[in-house]
Symmetry: C2
């Protein structure tokens, strides 16, 4: 195995074993390189790689630190990976989202509090009756994100966040080409909110399913 890959493994091991904790600072480049027995250049490659997936945070003039390792932060890197999957696998991503989104919405219906419900309503109200497609999709993203956050599962939230990215373009496209898509989306949002307010898990799940499935169905007939 290459020295750089060894270094990646060793740094990973230091973190997993607890020798390095979230927020901790690593020894400076030259020291860590000597400690791991490789050159600064090779070590830098390892650090850069771990930095890309948000394990490490390097600050010039300051030092290199272990990130918080929050699920949100780590799965954020998922978005980067997902960017490479365009067009051909969008349907598969959408299918996964269709599984997770209704489940998350149902979970949220039991846990969401009044303040969060109010915030959701404000989000929907902020959008005018005739929003642009870009505004609508942005609102859509934010609306679902807020709901999933209320599900209380950070992993689930980050996962859906990463998965929602690649389907965004498809949704914009739909808004532009399908006549009643905008109005239908707004209506579905209201129904989901209503189900959450009623603490009706089954209704929330069903409306979320309908919501995602409508995009999926349209995409399937279009491609």
């Amino acid at each position: 195995m290459a020295v750089t890959d060894e270094a990646i493994e060793k740094i990973k091991e230091m973190i997993v074993s607890g020798a390095l904790r979230p927020g901790d600072r690593l020894p400076k480049e030259s020291e860590l390189a000597a400690e791991l027995g490789l050159s600064r250049n090779s070590l830098r490659e390892a650090v850069r790689a771990l930095s890309l997936i948000r394990i490490l945070d390097v600050r010039q003039g300051d030092g290199t630190y272990v990130t918080s390792l929050d699920p949100q932060l780590l799965l954020e890197a998922l978005g980067f990976v997902v960017d490479f999957h365009r067009d051909d696998t969008v349907l598969e991503f959408l299918a996964v989202r269709r599984i997770l989104e209704p489940a998350a919405t149902a979970m949220a219906s039991a846990l969401i509090d009044d303040a969060e419900l109010k915030a959701l309503e404000d989000q929907l109200d902020a959008l005018g009756p005739e929003p642009s497609v870009e505004e609508l999709v942005a609102c859509d993203l934010e609306f679902h994100r807020s709901i999933v956050q209320a599900s209380g599962n950070a992993v689930l939230c980050s996962l859906l966040d990463g998965l929602s990215g690649p389907t965004t373009r498809a949704r914009v496209w739909r808004g532009l080409t399908q006549e009643d898509a905008v109005g239908r989306t707004l209506h579905e949002h209201r129904m989901i909110l209503g189900a959450l307010r009623d603490r009706d898990a089954e209704a929330a799940r069903s409306w979320a399913t309908v919501h995602v499935a409508s995009v999926e169905q349209w995409l399937r007939t279009t491609l």
Copy 2:
């Protein structure tokens, strides 16, 4: 932005835009470095980072190539990230798996063919009546992996693969400490297989839910 990060973005853009296709070979280090306007050292950091997440494949003495970019390959990197989440967030990962696994099993019930059913049965038969805990967990992993593959969604398959890793240790632990866990697991596997053979999506979904939930419940009371 640092030159290395720029290089990462540029290489990503070359791939996403289609200038570089899966399997294509990149210009050699020195040429690409000159083309992107940075030193070889800095370019190497970018390449190493993209190589860690399986976007690029570097072969010494040969060249650097774009990987197949299969969902399976890219989400494999998910396992690396997930390794950093131990103990505290296992329950959240398990909760997500509890959502996905039943759905995938239900999907598989409609698509699985006779050969795949036979392979599943052989897998279960290969395990003796009194397997070791490690054998059982390995078989468990493989059994579910085969089922999810039959669901026909590569993204879903890779995602579950990545998520199953961190819960493996928990399952081993359970097998060691909970008396009837082994026998119950074997029974549940048979029931899932039976439901698949009957093409009974609802039964398959329910048994898969029971299967994952039993681990979840045990873990929740233990932690």
